[in-house]
């Protein structure tokens, strides 16, 4: 279980509890958080769940796979060093307290 805070582009902040194994994309789309689309259902195929992770998450997350890095080249909003795809991040206790910020647009 992890408490994850999503900060939407308009500044609205929502914290949800994510069960272990859930992706941060699934947490957003099922909780009604705007700003994450996840068109492909979490297959790392569409790059519409782009997010910016905070320093804490950046420190504890495993690095992105080559496939995720390649897809990040196709995000619509600005790509930053802390850009990730929310569908590729799986919740666990290690991520508890993490904050992700969502870009203004996904497509």
């Amino acid at each position: 279980m992890a408490h994850i805070t999503y900060v939407e582009a308009n500044g609205q902040s929502t914290t949800i509890d994510l069960a272990d194994g859930w992706s941060l994309m699934q947490g957003a789309t099922t909780s009604g958080i705007e700003g994450i689309i996840g068109e492909c259902g979490g297959s790392c195929a569409c790059a519409t769940c782009h997010c910016y992770v905070d320093d804490f998450l950046a420190g504890v997350l495993p690095p992105p796979s080559q496939g995720e890095l390649d897809m990040l080249e196709n995000v619509v909003a600005e790509r930053r060093p802390n850009s990730r795809l929310a569908c590729q991040i799986r919740a666990s206790a290690a991520l508890d307290g993490g904050v992700i910020t969502l870009p203004e647009c996904q497509e």
Partner: protein, 415 residues
């Protein structure tokens, strides 16, 4: 209540990817009237792509499959009604007749009715344990039967070596089932992939322990009170089977449209903006067949088609032109390989391979003469994304350039 709320508003038939996309695009486009989203399944919108993979493998629960939370739809003023079947469209009065006897008026109508798996036209095809894969319920039924097969060491037979069949085969192997794939053609995915990639996928499945039978002619299903127990081939032989998954394509759900007199041909005929032959009705997703400028029809079954046509259809109802003309793309996950396809390969007469097929990350470029038609990438997302840009821009590398990893294809985009 505003004036807009007193009109019937827009009714969307079908709560899958295309229907949800259209509803959200209508709101994003400034539509303030009523939006009613009708789904015929008991549950709300869900992601279909994982059904043949993580869902079938039991790695996801129902909540994780949700496409949009009902409260998210409600917040946008999208009224979701589940378990609703539409019987008839009365275009003269702009009214839907529902299966429960009720009626529903509309000022604009969106048909996002999806597609239905083709049934095996053979004796015994309705036996218990002979299953298609389209809906969440289908996938759950397959998963249940597959678990029994694994526990009893009974084989799984997949009829059809297309994407659905091969993804099911890969998942079944992952779960420890014995798997045979029967394909009527001489190779896998023959209408889509270049021969070299068909062969590569055949090798991949064989290495994972799948038995492949090509040129297979299925003659019937053998079943008893316990359901299916075998698949009979034309030569009289019988393959034992505790589960038969049928993946031989789908047919567009265009009956409602056809009975209402809309133009239909292998699907509801739409233009690039999702418009049907009735100005008050648009259509999106797997139920459609798009009329191209040259008069031919294009049927696509994909997430991208559902979402892009959904956006186009919403715009059309709002009186705007938003044609969907970008390069089609698709993907398929089998084992640890992600196949990403850009463009349409029909008519290709030459191919170039970029990268090392033995190492795993590579792409196959389809050409017709000197013109690039499509690119299929395996664990090579960068090639795939670049291919979409090249095809969108109408740019072609030469086959020699495509096959030479030392040649930077990105420079064509900068020219």
């Amino acid at each position: 209540m505003t004036a807009a709320m007193t009109t019937p508003g827009i009714v969307i038939v079908g709560a899958g990817q295309a229907g949800v996309q259209t509803a959200e695009a209508l709101r994003a486009g400034g539509y303030t009237g009523r939006i009613t989203l009708l789904g015929d399944e008991p549950h709300g919108p869900y992601h279909r792509p994982p059904l043949s993979k993580a869902w079938l493998a039991g790695e996801m629960d129902a909540a994780q499959l949700v496409l949009r939370a009902p409260e998210m739809l409600a917040r946008k003023g999208i009224e979701l009604r589940t378990g609703v079947t539409v019987r008839r469209i009365d275009r003269a009065t702009r009214t839907l007749q529902l299966a429960d006897g009720g009626t529903l008026p509309y000022s604009g109508l969106v048909l996002a009715t999806g597609a239905t798996p083709r049934a095996l036209p053979l004796p015994g095809a309705d036996a218990e344990g002979v299953l298609p894969l389209r809906s969440r319920a289908d996938a759950s039924a397959i998963a249940g039967r597959m678990a029994t097969c694994v526990a009893q060491d009974r084989p799984v037979v997949v009829i059809g070596g297309g994407f659905i069949g091969l993804e099911v085969a890969a998942t079944a192997r992952k779960k420890g089932a014995r798997v045979t794939v029967l394909e009527a053609a001489p190779r896998l995915l023959g209408r889509v992939l270049a021969p070299v990639l068909s062969d590569w996928y055949a090798d991949l499945h064989r290495r994972h322990g799948v038995r492949l039978v090509f040129d297979a002619q299925v003659a019937g299903i053998e079943a008893d009170a316990g359901g299916v127990h075998g698949v009979r081939l034309a030569d009289g032989s019988v393959l034992p089977a505790g589960l038969v998954v049928v993946g031989i394509g789908v047919a567009a759900n265009d009956v409602l449209a056809r009975e209402a007199g809309l133009a239909c041909e292998r699907g509801i005929v739409v233009d690039a903006c999702g418009r049907t032959s009735d100005p008050a009705i648009v259509a999106a997703g797997d139920c459609t067949a798009r009329r191209l400028p040259d008069g031919s029809l294009l049927r696509l079954e994909s997430v991208q088609n559902a979402t892009e046509q959904g956006k186009s259809a919403a715009a059309a109802l709002l009186g705007q032109e938003r044609p969907f003309t970008t390069t089609p793309w698709f993907w398929s996950d089998q084992y640890d390989r992600k196949l990403q396809m850009a463009g349409l390969s029909a008519g290709a007469d030459a191919w170039a391979v970029r990268g090392d097929m033995a190492a795993g990350g590579f792409s196959v470029y389809h050409f017709q003469g000197e013109r690039l038609l499509a690119v299929d990438s395996v664990n090579a997302a960068r090639d795939h994304l670049q291919a979409r840009k090249l095809l969108d821009a109408g740019l072609s590398p030469t086959p020699w350039q495509a096959g030479d990893v030392a040649f930077d294809l990105g420079q064509l985009l900068k020219a």
